[in-house]
Symmetry: C2
Subunit: 194 residues, 2 copies
């Protein structure tokens, strides 16, 4: 039986990532976000929603650049801090002992300690209400060499991203594989065509 919870922003699972930018004073900053993801293949685009009140908001508009930094499982405490503290008052890179690296293609810093990084140039913004949706064109994806296989394909199990529960306010590990995509479904497909 299904229970109605009303019109609320609830969804599972959520990703969790750090949005990197140079703030209005030129200081490297990060904020934790969970409302975002890929939204187009050609061109490759990433969307992230940010409230107007956040210190990152003006920073992204000014430099028209941001990075998306995927933290790994051992970084949950740091990720949580970066979602609580504001870059207006705190140097989060210094506080968390993270290393800001200037991006190759855009005017924003990335977090060296994060195993996967997307360098994004601001493509468009969309005012949705409480949140502005920033869409960035992915100019480069950078992966720590230890998380790549022999064909330079990133391995999600090694990147080990964190999954966020926005209702229970909990960070989760990535679990074991449930099987290959475009494979399990073929069982049904074959039955259908017999």
């Amino acid at each position: 039986m299904k229970i109605s919870l009303g019109a609320k922003p609830i969804f599972f699972p959520l990703p969790v990532f750090l949005v990197g930018s140079y703030d209005t004073a030129g200081k490297p900053n990060i904020m934790t976000a969970a409302w975002g993801g890929l939204c187009c293949a050609e061109p490759p685009l990433f969307a992230v929603s940010i409230r107007r009140q956040r210190w990152t908001y003006e920073a992204v508009l000014q430099r028209k650049s941001f990075t998306i930094n995927v933290p790994t499982g051992t970084m949950a405490g740091q990720v949580d801090f970066a979602g609580i503290a504001s870059g207006e008052k705190v140097d989060k890179f210094a506080q968390l002992h993270f290393t800001p690296v200037k991006s190759t293609f855009v005017d924003a810093p990335y977090v060296e300690e994060c195993p996967a990084v997307l360098e994004c140039a601001l493509h468009s913004t969309q005012d949705l209400g409480s949140h502005m949706q920033f869409i960035g064109e992915i100019k480069d994806v950078k992966i720590t060499d230890e998380c790549l296989d022999d064909e330079k394909k990133p391995l999600m199990s090694l990147i080990n991203p964190i999954i966020y529960d926005g209702v229970g306010k909990n960070y989760h590990k990535l679990g074991a594989s449930l099987g290959k995509a475009f494979a399990g479904g073929k069982i049904f497909w074959q039955e259908l065509n017999e």
Copy 2:
């Protein structure tokens, strides 16, 4: 050391969910998607990107409605099938033994077997290139009663959503908790204010 992979749509982790709609013939249909998520709190909005070629594309435009259905870990095979087969040729609900239920607030069917469902009314569309971004206003969230706690809060561990690896084309289980949000970070916060 970081290795550049170029301008590609790569991100971890991705969610995986079923987009429900009535197709142009009135038949309930679902498609599997991974490029989407929450994008606004007030109003509560959900964004999903869909290629023009998909059978769901016209369906959503016609009825200005869709549902987001969160599958649970045991449904990876069905989810995979729903991403391979096209509703133009196949009745996926029948094939997968899923039960289509007419939504309460929008003109789209949801999947009874999925533990979490979002009923969405089309809010806006944004042509991004290969993909159209459909933004839906969440009119209701429905959760299977067994996945709610005593205060009617959905428990992500019981919903047990699937995590998708878009590079390795793999479905993954949700793993164990890494700790509470707005908690772990306070350790750093306290140090800072001492």
